[in-house]
Symmetry: C2
Subunit: 138 residues, 2 copies
DNA sequence: CTTACTTTGCAATAGCATTGCATAACTTCA
DNA sequence: TGAAGTTATGCAATGCTATTGCAAAGTAAG
């Protein structure tokens, strides 16, 4: 189990330090994307900047992707297995719940292709849907 | 011409003060969405907070809409004629150019409907496409 | 002209993101 | 093993955007 997490780090050329194991473990247990604040509050007391840099490292190495959901605080969520740092395959939709204020990845909702005006060339895409999530709409 | 701008304010129940006329005039001359900073730099020296509140007022009254393009700074652009403060009809796509760093509205590119997982209810949607704009790809 | 309301400008604050630097931890190689 | 070098961590400090409080200036109405 911890073995798993350790391997996951090594596979991405990230040294598996105690801190990183803890953070990655914490991330795997989340059902929603979390902010730096969430991470800080959810873990045993640790230095905020170290957590920040841990997330940045994870992002560079393709372990997590960051989400701008419009709340002002960047959220992070685990990547699918086939991401790398250069080229995140996170072309899935993100959903922000106006009720519980949580941000979810919707990996099965693919972003459709769009026709852009002449001359515009698409490289990335970021789609946030806001509404009410499954839990809150019960 | 100034008459136009003045009417536009009055139509939206915004008192046409000197400041507001200047800001709205400035906005109509833009080809891309602008941030508070852009506005401050582009205009005759004025108080930043006043400009901020002017934009907020315009947004409430349906004159402009705000755009979160992921750069950290909120951008503003004029609304189509049929927007109101309650219900912005800005369901168009926004395009961020990685080259010139400008953000454009693509009013003719409509956001497609998406099938969400069971239980998720959509209320709003925000789609940013990043890439290279028409000018920069020439 | 006076009163009431709106707008403006300044000061101040809060929150997120980010960097510099010194220390601690860990690696490596002789 | 131990000295040197690299990497990671923790603390301090800073920058930027957003936002509010309050008092002064401006505007409108009677």
């Amino acid at each position: 189990m911890t073995q798993d997490i350790e391997h996951r780090l090594k596979n991405r050329q990230v040294n598996p330090t105690a801190m990183r194991l803890l953070v990655l473990d914490f991330l795997t247990k989340q059902t929603a994307a979390i902010s730096l604040n969430d991470l800080e509050k959810g873990m045993a007391p640790s230095d905020r900047i170290t957590l920040y840099r841990t997330l940045k490292t994870f992002e560079e190495k393709g372990l997590v992707h960051s989400i701008e959901d419009g709340t002002g605080a960047t959220k992070y969520a685990l990547c699918e297995q086939d991401c790398d740092g250069e080229n995140h395959h996170d072309l899935h939709v993100h959903f922000y719940c106006n009720s519980c204020k949580e941000t979810f990845c919707l990996p099965n909702t693919r972003i459709p292709e769009l026709a852009l005006p002449n001359g515009f060339k698409q490289q990335e895409m970021n789609l946030i849907i806001k509404g009410v999530c499954e839990q809150c709409s019960k």
